[in-house]
Each structure stands twice: as C-alpha cells, then as structure tokens.
C-alpha cells in the first residue's frame, strides 16, 4: 500500500454504469516525510475520507475487495485514514492538531 493525501474529488457523469454511486477521490502520493510527490491516482473511497486527509491506498486486484468496490473496474481504493505515522521512532504525522502537521 502507499501513503497519500486526498487533494480533490473526481466527478464523472459519463462513466462505466457499474461505477454509479462510487465516490472517486484524487490522491497524491506522499513520501516518508509526508512530502507530496508528482504522482496522482484516482482512488475509490471505502472509509469516508475527505480532502486534506492523509490516507492509505491499496492497488491492484486487492482494491476490489471492499463492499463498495466489489466486482467494479477499480484498481485503487482508500482503505484507511492515518491517525499517527511513526518512522524510525519519530512521529512524522498525527491527525490530532498538537502533534506534527502535514506540510501542504
């Protein structure tokens, strides 16, 4: 899975009919230091995430293993919203305000 930040919403009226009702979000890959990288992915949302949140995305066939993406033409799904990220013993991100915040 990869670390990402939700940076936008994708609305498409003309799409595969099976995708009707599925929430599509634009996510930007983040590095270990929460730095935005240049790669973006359109991911289905399975946990109610919103713009600005740091999330975890699964890709490939595994992305279809949630109730909202079952049997759909989807290869990326947001399956967790990050509360705390610790790398080599240092807190790199915490959803609660008092800890380190994400550099936007």
């Amino acid at each position: 899975m990869f670390l990402a930040k939700v940076v936008g919403t994708v609305v498409a009226t003309q799409k595969d009919p099976k995708l009707a009702g599925l929430k599509l979000l634009l996510v930007q890959h983040l590095s270990l230091d929460l730095e935005p990288t240049k790669s973006f992915v359109v991911a289905a949302d399975s946990v109610g995430s919103g713009t600005g949140e740091v999330v975890v995305c699964a890709t490939g066939s595994s992305a279809r293993l949630t109730e909202v993406t079952d049997k759909l033409p989807v290869d990326a799904v947001i399956m967790a919203i990050v509360d705390t990220l610790e790398i080599n013993g240092a807190i790199k991100y915490s959803k609660s305000p008092e800890a380190a915040s994400v550099k936007s």
């Binding site: 899975m1 946990v47 949630t66 399956m79 610790e86």
Partner: protein, 92 residues
C-alpha cells in the same frame, strides 16, 4: 515473497473493517544482502507482532489479500513472517 526491514508503524482507527485489530507497518524492501532495494511501502501486520527494525518477509499483490482463510482484506502487501536468521552461500 520479499524480504524487508520494518522502518515504522502506522495507526488508523478509521479503516476497512477487515483490518480491525491490525497494525500497519512501513517497510523497506531488502535484497539478499539485507541492503535496501526499492521504495518503502506500507504493509499490514495481521498478527501485530512486528517491531521497529525487524527483518520480515511479506507477500504482494492479490495474494496479500487472502492470507487468512475466509478473511479477505483489501491489502496489496501483507507481512507473513519475521526472519530469525538468514544464511546465504551466494557468492557475488
């Protein structure tokens, strides 16, 4: 399966229900000489047993979702074991 070193941990209360009770680890893939090889990634640690700096091995892709029988998870990287020792007579 691949070798990796656990370089961090990630906690998420809001996650897909199949991950309930599980922790996520940030892992750095390793080559057979236990040197970093490739980009770090997030893997799920189904049995919550991995600690910082441990060497583990993990499964990637669709198989990572079906590690536990009758408990599929939307995971593309799942840690399946901790390495106790690694011996190679590979001369390079």
């Amino acid at each position: 399966m691949n070798l990796a070193k656990v370089i961090g941990s990630l906690w998420a209360t809001q996650k897909h229900h199949s991950f309930n009770g599980m922790k996520f680890c940030f892992i750095q893939p390793l080559n057979e000489h236990r040197q970093p090889a490739g980009k770090p990634l997030i893997a799920v640690d189904p049995d919550n047993r991995c600690g910082q700096d441990e060497t583990v091995y993990y499964v990637e892709g669709g198989d990572a979702a079906t590690i536990k029988p009758d408990h599929t998870m939307p995971s593309d990287a799942t840690i399946v074991g901790i390495v106790d020792s690694l011996s190679t007579d590979h001369k390079s």
